[in-house]
Symmetry: C2
Subunit: 417 residues, 2 copies
Amino acid sequence: MARLVMKFGGTSVADMDRIRNVARHVKREVDAGNEVAVVVSAMAGKTNELVAWCREGAPLHDAREYDAVVASGEQVTAGLLAIVLQGMGIEARSWQGWQLPIYTDNAHATARISEVNGTELIKRFKERKEVAVIAGFQGLHKESGRITTLGRGGSDTSAVAIAAAIQADRCDIYTDVDGVYTTDPRVVPQAQRLDKVAFEEMLELASLGAKVMQVRSVELGMVHNVRIFVRSSFVNPEEIDPRANPEGTLICDEADIMEQQVVTGIAFSKDEAQISIRRVQDKPGVAAAIFGPLAAANINVDMIVQNVSADGATTDLTFTVPSADYERARQTIDKAKKDIGYDRLDGATDVAKVSVIGIGMRSHAGVAAKAFKSLAEQKINIRAITTSEIKFSVLIDSAHTDQAVRTLHTLYGLDKK
Amino acid sequence: MARLVMKFGGTSVADMDRIRNVARHVKREVDAGNEVAVVVSAMAGKTNELVAWCREGAPLHDAREYDAVVASGEQVTAGLLAIVLQGMGIEARSWQGWQLPIYTDNAHATARISEVNGTELIKRFKERKEVAVIAGFQGLHKESGRITTLGRGGSDTSAVAIAAAIQADRCDIYTDVDGVYTTDPRVVPQAQRLDKVAFEEMLELASLGAKVMQVRSVELGMVHNVRIFVRSSFVNPEEIDPRANPEGTLICDEADIMEQQVVTGIAFSKDEAQISIRRVQDKPGVAAAIFGPLAAANINVDMIVQNVSADGATTDLTFTVPSADYERARQTIDKAKKDIGYDRLDGATDVAKVSVIGIGMRSHAGVAAKAFKSLAEQKINIRAITTSEIKFSVLIDSAHTDQAVRTLHTLYGLDKK
């Protein structure tokens, strides 16, 4: 017997047929003797509809009212799933965020969970064998008594927080992919599904575009050491043996991964633009003078590369932004030219970032060097390099992205056997 | 300055344009210095959609889950109206049933309000001039902490209960008609809108098919003496002078109606069927033997006429049911023949009930007699008669319904001058 959280996203509960499919997944686990808390999103499309109405109501709308409106989507799904489960003869009840309650701060629309009490759920597991069906994405601000929401993708975070609160053995994230891959299979057909990936690696993969889970939920899982399991909801629920190891990817503490690969995956993003500021004054406060105005303009800066000044007076500084923000970013820097003090701006919109991720890098020297050599052999020019403990990224011409990803995927032995 | 509750039904908040129209009605009252609580229904069609999903989920679904699902419609409208009001520069916030809270019993799907505390709303009127936007139809069962709903049309009841709790000067029910009429204007073009109607009269008119408001809300208004004002939401909000007497019908205590008409209105319903049980045993328990099985079969019995037995042993008993239930009702009685003991069943499906309502009847003799004479002159045969203190009804052939209604409307001086 295990205690499980099962989370289903919007496409998995898009209509009554899909909700019945979800119920059959739940039934399988209940029949196997497991204690189950289910976390559901709104039906696909519902949240967008509600958000659009809020925007139509007033462009600058009160986030507290927005939260009250958009939280209704999850409320509906939770009630409907409870009804379907009961119809299958399974004890179940729905829980809204305010009923459990899931307490959050008052950062409406992007609230962070502060407290979840799992005592009542555990009591009901024991006394009534009752499945808890919990509306994801929503919470309650204790002091004001108002509904909050956790931001898009927030149901992942709800699921992980509840898993921590009830000390679940595993938090299953059912989604439209069957796990986390070494890279995008559309680019590299040899991409393999990873059996296990460490939290830290997943954080790098997710923020680089793997898009399987909300980044915050992985952080939360890391802090509370919740074993998160990414699996597909589009398999026949009855074809899964709940006693066998399920197919998917376990996101877990690195200590739980026996044979750590040196490189776990290759991530990339194509819609990047590069801006290089030439001969910037090398003095305290210059980085703030550059990135302050960009942040104020709500432009998301990704890579930042600044080399040590050669002449002790000026240096070159390169950063990347989403290519859609390229022109705005140039104008923003241009306006701040007097404050920053630089010679000229260079830039390019046709660049891509390719990143190599692996916890094993920490203990293996020369991992990046191999990549540079291999890319050079392919005549792929590297524009800039950044590194962290478990990742390095190169900026290249976007025309070479696929080629670079395939090369590195093979180089680090990630191709399917 | 007055304190008002303004209630808007589903067609009045069917889309964002309509919600903006509602907001303009609210703004008019706020600008006139009034303290305002708004009660809203779900967007037209939303509740039906949610109910259909619940039924699809399981035919016999948990009413607690049903309530959680269907209450979401009002949640959305309340938040959206608050957003639109704020966008117009009006202080506003939404309240869910559980937030206020509106406590109810635990008769899920048909809950009755037990307690509404208006203190916080009044405080906010005074301190912040804040408009309260309250989700109608929903409540909270205190002990279980679960969402309840009040049944279809329940927002009327929410509005009246809130009006009582905040000691509102008036509870405005905005609807798609501009008031309560002396009879159906489609049958009698001379029908007039009533300026005032007593609670008791409205109860008789509503249950007889006037269909302007939920009957329970009128009962509640009567108990708490809430002045309910029925008016149209489909007028240009800016064309109404909030300081002038608005157009509509006030439902109030009879003491507030100076010149009481003898007859206030003529109601009718065409889809009636009549069943007469001939030579029923005139003994204790026979009525129970007849109406018990009908109630168990969920057949709604309306008029019941039983005369005093002539021979001391048997009597005839007549009742009406909706014509759709006629065959079922006959079969039900037939099955219970041994328990009841009667000679034979007669019946007719082409009958109509015409009712004359007026509080003034109490103090005026001969009101009904005038009608009988007038109908006889028109050669309209009366099948059965029932009377109450402020109403009498006649059962006639449905072919003569319109003629009878017009005759009585003129007879009692209700035609427009």
